[in-house]
């Protein structure tokens, strides 16, 4: 099987000011490589500043890649921009940490969820019907289509964000701290929803799950990468990595769990 997403030697340098004139450079991600297989759920864990969100931003092309390549379904999307990103977002979607902020406050949830469908030429009415199906699939009711982001709870809004992400039937879902702002009981519900979607879609849906919560990653992911200072220091089966950490940083991380 070919990987659905493959990154090679991915590197990001954030430049502050002018180089050579007192400017500084931060090497946020250093030579990261991994392959995400169809149907796989890959976790990336690390503490603040380890570079895990920068990885998500590069893959979704929200920030430029300094070095390296990103292959989505075999296609090089490393320098893809503008209108040609539409094909990328057909296959790749993202769920962010702050659900309420990820929606336009002046648009109803239904309108936000259906936008990508309408943009792809689906009629207003058909898109509306599809939105209702998506809401039900994500554990909400049809009435949520008419609500605004501020009228619903954080958990309900994250369900809507997942509905929006899966509307175009993407092959890859990137979740960047998608449950970190939620209460634990709500987090559990969202993880159950993601598990349901994985079961239904089988090899059709792969997930890159970025989190600081190693216990959550152990519950949810098939494989884990541990990032530290922009590099992968350890990877493998989560149970293995947690039971027998090889890298000193991973050991320290696991010992710190209360």
């Amino acid at each position: 099987m070919e990987p659905v997403l493959k990154v090679e030697n991915l590197t990001k340098v954030y430049q502050r000011g002018t180089p050579g004139k007192g400017g500084t450079a931060v090497n946020a991600v250093r030579g990261l490589s991994f392959a995400l297989m169809p149907g796989e759920c890959l976790g990336i864990i690390g503490e603040s500043g380890s570079g895990k969100s920068t990885v998500a931003k590069m893959i979704t092309r929200l920030t430029d890649v300094t070095e390296g390549t990103i292959l989505l379904d075999g296609e090089d999307i490393t320098r893809r921009r503008g209108s040609r990103m539409r094909d990328v977002y057909q296959k790749l979607q993202m769920v962010f940490q702050m659900p309420v902020e990820s929606f336009d406050p002046r648009q109803t949830l239904g309108s936000g969820i259906g936008e990508s469908l309408r943009n792809r030429g689906m009629g207003r009415k058909a898109a509306g019907e599809e939105v209702k199906k998506l809401l039900l699939m994500c554990g909400l009711t049809e009435e949520f289509a008419g609500k605004y982001p501020h009228e619903v709870s954080g958990g309900q809004c994250q369900r809507a964000a997942i509905a929006r992400a899966i509307a175009v039937r993407p092959k890859v879902l990137i979740c960047d701290e998608a449950t970190s702002a939620l209460d634990v009981t709500v987090q559990k519900e969202i993880i159950q929803l993601l598990n349901d979607l994985r079961r239904k879609q089988g090899d059709g849906l792969s997930i890159l799950f970025i989190s600081h919560d190693i216990a959550l990653v152990q519950q949810f992911c098939d494989r884990v990468l541990v990032m530290y200072h922009g590099e992968v220091v350890e990877q493998g089966n989560p149970d293995e990595v947690i039971a027998h950490p090889q890298d000193p940083y991973t050991k320290r991380l696991i010992e710190s769990i209360l």
Partner: protein, 260 residues
């Protein structure tokens, strides 16, 4: 052992709307109470009442809050200024950011201590050095002579916790003191609070949504749900053998690391 803090059937309301209902607990010298709950459960409101930080619209509408037998609900602003810091220490989510960035840590702490007692700079520095030493800091003089940004995030939070003890209050109220921290740093902050209790016998109330933190440090736990007490008891009983349905659901939702 003497009773330090007591909540007696406390109701708290904002703008006439009751947000905390009928909360009672008792904390003795050197004990640690963890208050847990999800967002909006009223846990922060609960301890902010004891700090006098409910704001102009918040009121304790029923019951009483007693610090060493004295009521702290209706005291004047002047008396409140004396009590906060001197008798009741407060620690917040990000102690590091409550320091002024352009002045040295020691100077800032001296200023706050001076508000409460007459003390020379030299006497303050030697007291502070001695206290930080007891609380596990190896080079306390260097910390006092540092600017806040020269300390790591974990060190800032530890200093914030230790600094709250300069006036030797018998009670520390901590509102989400570890929530903005990475897990490795979180552990340092928890260990610092445990050291405060061991060295100085301080009673601590910690409000957090992190069950792991409470499990690591509290003697007793109060679980809040929708402004009410869902369960109150010894830590081991509440976390590992919960009796109430809500607590069971909550504990069941916490991701736990499986080792081995």
């Amino acid at each position: 052992m003497g009773e330090i803090l007591r909540y007696d059937h406390v109701d708290i309301s904002y703008n006439g709307k009751t947000v905390v209902r009928d909360i009672s607990f008792s904390l003795e010298e050197g004990q640690i109470l963890g208050i847990v709950g999800e967002s909006g459960s009223g846990k922060s409101t609960l301890i902010r009442a004891a700090m006098g930080l409910l704001g102009p619209t918040g009121l304790v509408t029923r019951g009483d809050i007693l610090y060493k037998g004295k009521t702290v609900v209706d005291i004047s602003a002047n008396e409140r200024r004396r009590i906060n810091g001197e008798e009741i220490a407060m620690v917040f989510q990000n102690a590091g950011s409550s320091f002024c960035p352009i002045r040295k840590v020691g100077d800032q702490l001296y200023e706050s201590v001076k508000e409460h007692k007459r003390i020379t700079r030299e006497a303050f520095y030697s007291e502070a050095e001695e206290l930080l030493g007891r609380l596990g800091f190896e080079d306390s003089r260097r910390i006092l002579d540092s600017y806040p940004f020269e300390l790591s995030g974990g060190m800032q939070q530890r200093v914030g916790i230790a600094a709250a003890m300069l006036l030797r209050p018998d009670l520390m109220l901590a509102d989400e003191p570890t929530s903005a921290l990475d897990v490795s740093v979180q552990k340092q902050a928890v260990e610092e609070m445990l050291l405060v209790r061991r060295q100085l016998g301080t009673a601590i109330v910690i409000v957090t949504h992190n069950i792991g933190v409470v499990g690591a440090m509290a003697d007793q736990v109060l679980v809040m749900a929708h402004g009410e007490c869902a369960e109150y008891g010894k830590t081991d009983q509440v976390l590992h053998h919960p009796r109430e349905a809500y607590t069971k659901v909550l504990m069941d939702s916490v991701p736990r690391l499986r080792t081995g």
